[in-house]
Amino acid sequence: MQDAFKSTALAAAEGASDAPWLAARRTQSRDAFSALALPDRKVEGWKYNDLSKVYGEAVQLTSASDLAVARELAADTLALEAPTVTLVDGQYCAELSRLPSGLNATSFSEASAEQHASLAQSLGTQARADGQAFVLLNEALNQDGVLVEVGSGESPAESLHILNLRTAAGTAAPRVWVSVGENAQLTIAEHHLCAEGVASFDLPVSELHIGANSTVHHYRFALSQSGGRHIGRVATRQERDSRYYAYLAVLGGDFNRLDFGLDLQGQHCESELYGLYMCRGQEHTDIHLAVDHALPHCDSKEVFRGMAAEQGKAVFNGRIHIHQDAQKTNAELSNRNLLLSRTAEINTKPELEIYADDVKCAHGATVGQLDPEALFYLRSRGTPLEAAQSLLSYGFINEVLLAMPDQAIAGLVTPRVDAFFNDLEKG
């Protein structure tokens, strides 16, 4: 199955972007991908993933997009009237983009020769650690992407939205590169949205580089109405004194895998990652987090809440690596999970690797059911059992939604959370 997958992938790569500035990289990545053994259950980091859902289907770049469906998917985000760069099934879509004025953002295809030259240098420098097969595949298949540059001292007032819309079956491999200079600020929201019943295969990769003393708020939502497979990678690198806040949500989709890497390469960095994931039906979601503390005096905090109902399966793996030089590190990881049925499954594993001796590290991971005492409390006040269950489940997720400072952006996830509970009640 892997072999068939690989050969269709290599064939599909022939149809990827023919931009000359990318050619060398693409060939390199395609060859590396071709030589690499694809992960399967025997590989520790993939042991809970049923990759037959991925390898079972041929790789084929999406050709026929549906603009009407894209318009509908984009509506709520465009209604925020903020700068937006939109890709539809991996290709830049000018019609659904609102290019920012005070902010330097562009699709790869529309970028200048100078930008291409710098992209050719920087793409992959953060995301490609460990030669991850799916990052290489993204590079082999990439057709277009979004480049965001915030110069030193700049702090655009508006948040920037990147829409990655899936309207038709097939593979897309969009790419995002965000570079933020020194003493700058940025709020960026990535939306990976898949329309109802679209058998998409999405391989998005985002890299963020945050310069000294800058602040970035990064929202990343992967929301599918039903169907779709998504293997995503985010790699963020922070320089000294920078602050990075990420808010992740994964809902819907047959198969979701997100590898989120945070590399703290300067002293006095502050990072907070919040995330929620919810699976039902036959859905599968796996979030792999890797936080690397390379230098002293950095604080990182991760708060993740997961939920699985029906036959849903979720996996959370939170790895915090505190290198030898990273004295005076403060690292905190909390992952709580709620099982809403007996057939649902959640596996969680915090992995702490600590090589420095003067650090504060706290982690907690739990999988449980709704607290019967809390349920009784609600019922004793007259709230019927089912309503009490959904109030508590919602409350559980709400902790993450409330952590998002821009409630208008959070509001793009809430309807999906509501729908999750409503659909459960309907059975």
Binding site: A374, L378, R379, R381
Partner: protein, 249 residues
Amino acid sequence: MLSIENLQASVDEKAILKGLNLSVGAGEVHAIMGPNGAGKSTLSNVMGGRPGYEATGGSVTLDGVNLLELEPEERAYAGLFLAFQYPVELPGVSNMEFLKAAVEANCENRGVEAPNTPAFLKAAREACAQVNLNPDFLKRGVNEGFSGGERKRNEILQMIMLQPKLCVLDETDSGLDIDALQVVADGVNSMRSDDRGFVVITHYQRLLDYIVPDFVHVLSDGKIIKSGGSELALELEKNGYGWIEQEVA
């Protein structure tokens, strides 16, 4: 209005309530006192239908309705309210949302019209003022990070909003400073009426200075072993429970 007859209940297969009788008429306030572990909280938990607290015999009826056959929420619709000794936290569930869901469910099931949103908000803010909680508490998670005293005041706030027929207060006075005690007592007194009954479980006579009971009962080893007027509380405060337990033995 409330009639408890020969109530027996076990927790973890251990008999805790051993034939308890109590009758509360409309408009009355009954205080229940008794040593630790006597079964006071168990009584309120059995009345409320808390999981793990099943009655094994006897009956509890409220205006003719057998509470023991009902689900916990149905007991609320029948008019029962329990103020808990240890109210739990509901993280992420806002107090406002929680109160609204409860008020609406009670109205619907009692066949009265639920207040519209502005009326509800007004009532909620007034209830806050009455128990001296900043209205900001309405936005916070239910009991989330509340101090002990704030939780107890939040219980009284819910009682005011839900307008029950019979209120059972389990040690609502424990752990309160004197001002909070006054607030709780005022809350209860403001709700005293001819068609509402109260059962106030307490260890301290001082609460009964503020909420003057019509009857005082001593619960010991799963039974009411002595009943009297408000003067009984003073006697208990002075002499403890030993003399009654001996008198009964």
